[in-house]
Amino acid sequence: MLVFNQLQTYLYLALILFAIGLYGVLARRNLIAILISVELILNAAMINFMAFNRFLAPHPAVGQIIALFIMAVAAAEAAIALSIIIAVYRKLKAINVEQATELRG
Amino acid sequence: MGFHLGSVDPLFLTCLAIVGLPALAFGIIMVFTWWRPKLSLGISLTCSTIPLVLAWWLFFTVKGTSLAQPIITQVNWMVSDAIIVPFGFHIDPVSLLMLVLVATISWLIQIYSIGYMEGDPGFARYYAELSLFGMSMLSLVSASGMVQLFVSWELVGLSSYLLIGFWYEKFSASEAGKKAFVVTRFGDIGFYMGLAFLLYFMKDLSLFGLGIADINKLGLTHKLTEFQITLCALLIFCGVCGKSAQFPIHVWLPDAMEGPTPVSALLHSATMVAAGVYLITRLFPFFAASPTAMTVVLVISTITLILSSTIGMVAKDIKQVWAYSTISQLGFMAMGLAAAGLAHGTLFAGYYHLTTHAAFKALLFLCAGVFIHHFGTNDFFVMSKEGGRKLLIPMVTVTIAALALSGIFPFAGFFSKEAILGQLWHLDNKLWVGMGLFGAFLTAYYTFRVIFVLLFPPRLPQPRGASWGSLGHVLSPHCPGYLYLYPGLPAGAAGKVSPGRSPSPCNELSPFGVGGGLRPERHRPGLAGLGLPEGQLDRLHQQIPHN
């Protein structure tokens, strides 16, 4: 299929993922959901890197390397985020951002 | 430093000494010796005696000047771009005479005040302020530039304010001082604006120091349009109105009598109030160049004359009477000057009256001071009841002065008034001379109302004990004043009726003669068949072309 062999396809895919992630970050109230949305954004970036690597700069495997790095870093991020979310849950007995309203002004 | 004496002109130095010494006295007393009355008195007296001597010396030695050719000796006081302010002296007969007059009267007042102000807590301050006044007045009459004149003018106002409000704990006194200062300053707005306008109109002259001679030249040569001259002259006349208490801003002068009586005598009758009239005299050619301005002056002064005379007729306070009389006489002087201007005549009559008036009005006030001091009241009806006529010497002198004021022959007042009426006669509209005569009549009326009330009390009072003794006590410190004043007047007046004498004014001057400097040489036909005195000044003045 020709469409899978085109850069645009992947770029649009990434863009859609990015948009979904952004929407999730802004619209969701559940901390876990927000975390997943953030991961979606990162994934969008990863797809971009891979796609560019594949179609435009094939010689060095930079894009792939970057994608690997992003995975690792995202994993670390998820670990930290989850640990804080657990702390939040312990203190507030909820993981809803609406509960976190102490800081205002 | 910017202030260079330049070539040291002895005349300049002399004048500087005359003007500067009293200023020095003021400074020294105010800063260093204000808590030591005797020392302050000494300083003040020294610094007024030397100017007195120097003024007289100048009067006798300076020759060859005229209104048209004054001796001007000056240095630059401040040099900005278009504004160059000279500091110096304008010596001509008019200023010389006034210099002598002012120096003498202020010296006398200082002498007179030794007793009058004795024991006053503000004795030193009083002398400092008198010195300040002397300095400013001397500088006013001899100033070579308009700015210097204005400076002195304001300083005169200031010292007058200080002296009127001398007893500042007294609410009325400080109010009166303030009133005097403020009211005269309202006039000064006009003066200031007039000067500013003069400079404005004279834009093309980059080096225009506003010297008096320059302004006069301006009037004579009509470098400005008549409208401009009229505008400036009228604005300057506002200042004159303020200082010389012309209608409608004469209101301060009667209140100014709150000050110590010597102050009233000095400032508010003889010298300071005359400054306005003197200014018109000074700038006579300039004023004369604008008939409109002169007409305004004439109208205002006539109103002043009539109005204040009528008020004087009902006042009960002796000082108030003399105050209103002063206003009316100032109006009279201004009338004379205005008439001279309008009729292309000479400036001399009004100015002449100024000098004679200075003498007899000072005398009137000093006598009033004696009465007030003696009876402790200002009401001459009360004085009369309590035996005012028993004070023989003051009674005699006051009567003589009153005669002079009323213009009775052969006293000085007669000649000067006659001269003014003569000027008025030359005007086309004879209404003015009528008004002048009416005013002169009113003057005689209110003057002699006081004299008659004093002389003829309704019933004789119980004789007060030790009348002479107390009189002596009161009079002794004042003697020098009388020495000058009351023999002086008849002598001066007498001089005027002897036309055949030598024409030189100087060598014939009686040491007592205030009006001596104006000694006439001959008469010319005038009003009522009497001669209009025509002095040397007058003659010199005629050399100035009138356009």
């Binding site: - | 105010m30 504004i83 400080s174 303030k178």
Partner: protein, 490 residues
Amino acid sequence: MTEHLANFPYLTCMLLSPVVGLTILLFLKEERGLAIRMVALVAAGISFALSIYTFVAYDRVLGGIQFVEKYEWVKGFGITYFVGVEGMNAPLLLLTGIVIFTGVLTMWELQERVKEYFIFQLALVTGVFGVFMSYDMFFFFLFYEIAVVPMYILILIWGSTRKIYAAMKLTLYLMAGSGLIIPGILLLYSSSGLFTFDMVRLHAVQFSPWIQKLAFVMMYLGFGVLAGVWPFHTWSPVGHVAAPTAVSMLHAGVLMKLGSFAILRIAMYLCPQGFQYWAQLMALLAATGIVYGVFVGLAQTDLKYVIGYSSVSHMGIVGLGLATGTLDGLNGAVFQMFAHGVMTALFFSSVGFIYDRTHTREIHELGGFSKIMPVASAFFITAALCGAGVPGMASFWAELLVLIAAVKVFPIRGLFAIAALVIGALFALRVVQNTFFNEPNPNFIHHEDVSPFLGLPRMILIGFLIFFGLFPQVMVGLIKTSIVPFIQGM
């Protein structure tokens, strides 16, 4: 003068003397009151002496900028340390010297937080000296701000009468002014193409008319706030009332001059065409300020308010003089800056003394003060007379020059100004009358008069007023040496 002396950094010493003084003060213990005062006095005294020296030693024949010190400061941004003296700033340096020296003496009896007080005052003075001597816009503005900001603390701690409000208002007004000044200065800096803050070099640049108009109006308004230009003056009476005595002296006496000096020094100097364009407005605002100050002042009952409003009207004269753009007007404006500075310092120091003793400044409460404190009263009366424009005092000449020049250029506005000023005499007299004359208030009878020591600073001020009143040429001649080339350059 030997070569050695000629190269001596007089101006830097003048500038650093307060800095050194305040550094020493930082390390002195609060308890050592006398030492603190002495240090402050010596620091102020050195500056004072040097300011007199530069005033006297300035070579009037030679003219130009003298005592120049010039070092490259920040190369990359064209900032130079460039100080010098010429005719227009020598009087103002002298003024600053006078006011700070007398100010320290005036505050000799201060008891509360003495050390800090003098620290801040010396800091403020450093700024003032700096502004007057700087020829580099960066340093000019730097010192300008240094002079303005300590006011906040000085008023806040040692002030009186609505001080919190006053301090905040004053600071914000002045800082808002700075907000306009910075873009104005930088506009000139960057559009010159020279990338230098050096005013003398910038002066040679012909800016486009558009830039001149824009930069001028920004700097005029910005500096005008400090100069008390109507209608941006409202901070000034409030601030003067709230400030402690010596600060009022410095503030009304010197600080307001910073504004008008800056308008002259930067705005008019660098943007002559902008000035031409806005001169009408300047004159209008100045004349309005004069009239307004006089009439509002008449209605006040607090002595300091009276003086505060009189400052507005007197600073209006400075503004009017500047607006004329003529030699006479500018001479007069600079002279007026000096004269008004000394006069107001005298005013405030007299009022301060009275307030310290009686704790009131209400005119109707202080009757007959002359009876109780003749000397203290005499000082105030002298100042009042000077304020009323009585000849023989320095301000008379300044006003004369400005007014006559103003009538020439703006006849109607000039006449209004003259009328207002003469009426201004009422100002002074009403105050003098009600405060010092009449029956003494029995509450205050026991107060003692000014001691000779405290009288000394006031005497110095009066001395300067009268000296320059009698010999105005000493001042005008000096000012002229710099105004003449200034006008030619415009």
